[in-house]
């Protein structure tokens, strides 16, 4: 892992919105083909980190490298867009409400000047487990899980090497969550993709990822292999607290969850 060029490399990255520091000196390396998790409470900067990589957040300092190439500012070249794609948290907000599924999938192909779009769109739909029947439907005719599958198909249609996943299942029902996670695992196995997965659900991250980083207040508190987290070999108090909170939440939702719903 040390001699190969990392798929993704961040050094001292800062992100600030109007003086508010959302990310503070974040450094991390993700190897090619690795599934890397980012966990932390709300507002800890996990999503901002993904958006900074994608060029959707204002990076004020530090360097970002994708496969050894340095990215500057918020501008990204065409090659970047073909290498790095993202799946957003809310499948109800990430698909254009006035475009058919066909149009949503056609758009990236048209932008990148890809020919023979029709077979590619059908293949992309097939890959995420949606038949050709879904091709000309509008997003409002799909369920949340189906929408998220479309969003994944859209992210994959340019055949990227790195996929940024911003809580891809947190807006979905528990049963659909498992389906989408299985789909993501299967796609990664087939294509050898590099994943950066953001989640507040430690269970999802330990299931999906080889390694993870714990974030708090815009900083990385701890980096550790997923197995260590499961085994409880934890280095910092914050991670322990997060784990206890996560477990406590799970017990609580088993016992009293239905009273609130």
């Amino acid at each position: 892992m040390t001699d190969a060029v990392p798929a993704l490399s961040l050094a001292g990255v800062n992100v600030a919105y109007d003086g508010y520091r959302a990310l503070a000196d974040v450094s991390l390396n993700v190897a090619a083909g690795e599934a890397f998790g980012l966990v932390g409470e709300s507002g800890s900067g996990k999503s901002t980190l993904l958006r900074a990589i994608a060029g959707l957040a204002p990076v004020t300092a530090g360097t970002l490298r994708v496969e050894g190439e340095t990215l500057t500012g918020q501008r990204r070249g065409r090659a970047f867009h073909a290498r790095v794609q993202m799946v957003f948290q809310d499948p109800y907000g990430s698909l254009h409400p006035r475009h058919t599924i066909d149009r949503q999938l056609l758009e990236p192909l048209a932008i990148h000047g890809v020919d023979a779009t029709s077979p590619r769109i059908l293949r992309a739909l097939d890959e995420v487990g949606l038949g050709a029947g879904f091709r000309f439907r509008y997003p409002h005719q799909l369920s949340g899980g189906q929408r998220q599958r479309v969003a994944i198909a859209r992210a994959l249609i340019l055949e990227p090497a790195i996929l940024l996943l911003d809580e891809p299942t947190s807006a979905l029902d528990a049963s659909v969550q498992a389906e989408v996670l299985n789909l993501l695992e299967q796609v990664r196995a087939e294509r050898g993709l590099t994943y950066v997965l953001v989640s507040h659900d430690l269970g999802v991250v330990t299931h999906m990822c080889d390694r993870l980083a714990v974030m708090h207040g815009g900083r990385i508190v701890e980096e550790l292999p997923a197995d260590d987290l499961v085994a409880g070999r934890i280095g910092t108090d914050y991670t322990r607290k997060l784990m206890v909170a996560s477990a406590g939440f799970r017990r609580g939702s088993d016992g009293h969850g239905h009273a609130d719903e």
Partner: protein
């Protein structure tokens, strides 16, 4: 809603409302049909649409429908005849011209004014608003301050000043109305753009590498279009009234053009004794304005994006 129809009618309906359209065209037509169903559920909107279709037909076939010439009158024998006179259903004016024929030909002028103003203002307002909203920063400030300047003038007064400068006439009236009516569209489009520009689907398309131009044209504008259509339709009544007002003041269409506002103005002199000369074009303006308002209201319900989300 009548579900009864012949076999092929039901087949077409099922094809249009299919949950699994098989082509781009079918998806588009199905969406249009669903919008039409929502529109048609509103009886008054359908009445309004019927009025507008009648207006278009009357304007198209004015030459066939009008019983007399709109310009040549019978000064000796047919001056100021009351309505229901033989041969003159709505009476004649002070120059012996048939009012019905003038109204029928006048519908062409009304329709022309409305269409030209819509074609001139809506795209300008949409473009200025979406570009300002999406670009932000200095471009936004510059464009919106220009818009504010135009908004600060009273509409009719600015139109008057422009017509006074350019000279009276229907074309200049159109230009004057167009210049004064685009700013509200720009504001509305900007507000809608600000609401969608940070949506995930816009971020997603940016991440696909789309250029700002492509994002504005293909992804932001469709979101602004339906409220713009509603707003323009509702404004049509006001535009007809301004055109008629300019005509009334002698700054719009010039005699002998059968423009409805100018007809009211010329009938003003005998409004007490020969009421029909001014009343008939007034009724025409009222009916057409009502038609546009009813259709606008219906479109607002039919095109409401929250409605379409379901």
């Amino acid at each position: 809603m009548s579900e009864a129809g012949i076999g092929s009618g039901q087949g077409t309906r099922a094809w249009l409302l299919s949950e699994y359209p098989a082509s781009r065209m079918q998806a588009r037509l199905g969406r249009a049909y669903a919008t039409w169903l929502r529109f048609a559920a509103n009886r008054l909107a359908v009445v309004g649409l019927a009025i507008l279709i009648a207006l278009v037909l009357v304007a198209t076939f004015a030459g066939v429908l009008a019983p007399h010439s709109p310009y040549a009158g019978d000064l000796a024998g047919a001056r100021l005849l009351p309505p229901l006179s033989p041969g003159h259903l709505l009476g004649t004016d002070d120059q012996g011209r048939d009012i019905l024929s003038r109204l029928i030909y006048g519908s062409r002028l009304t329709l022309a004014v409305v269409l030209m103003v819509a074609v001139l203002t809506a795209p300008v307002g949409l473009l200025v608003g979406t570009v300002a909203g999406y670009a932000g920063g200095i471009i936004d400030t510059a464009l919106m301050r220009v818009t504010d300047i135009f908004l600060a003038f009273p509409k009719l007064v600015l139109a008057l000043a422009l017509v006074a400068a350019l000279g009276p006439g229907i074309e200049n009236a159109v230009i004057a109305i167009a210049i004064t009516s685009w700013p509200p569209y720009a504001r509305m489009a900007r507000a809608e753009t600000l609401a969608v520009r940070h949506a995930d689907y816009i971020d997603a398309i940016r991440l696909m590498g789309a250029s700002p131009l492509r994002i504005v044209l293909r992804h932001v504008m469709p979101m602004c279009l339906s409220s713009l259509i509603v707003r323009v339709t509702l404004d049509m009544a006001g535009i007809i009234l301004i055109a008629a007002g300019l005509g009334f003041l002698g700054l719009g269409a010039q005699p002998p053009a059968p423009e409805w506002g100018a007809m009211i103005a010329s009938g003003r002199r005998f409004i007490l004794d020969q009421w029909w000369v001014a009343t008939m074009p007034g009724m025409a303006i009222l009916i057409v304005s009502l038609g546009f308002n009813l259709v606008g209201d219906g479109l607002r319900d039919a095109l409401d994006p929250r409605e379409a989300e379901r």
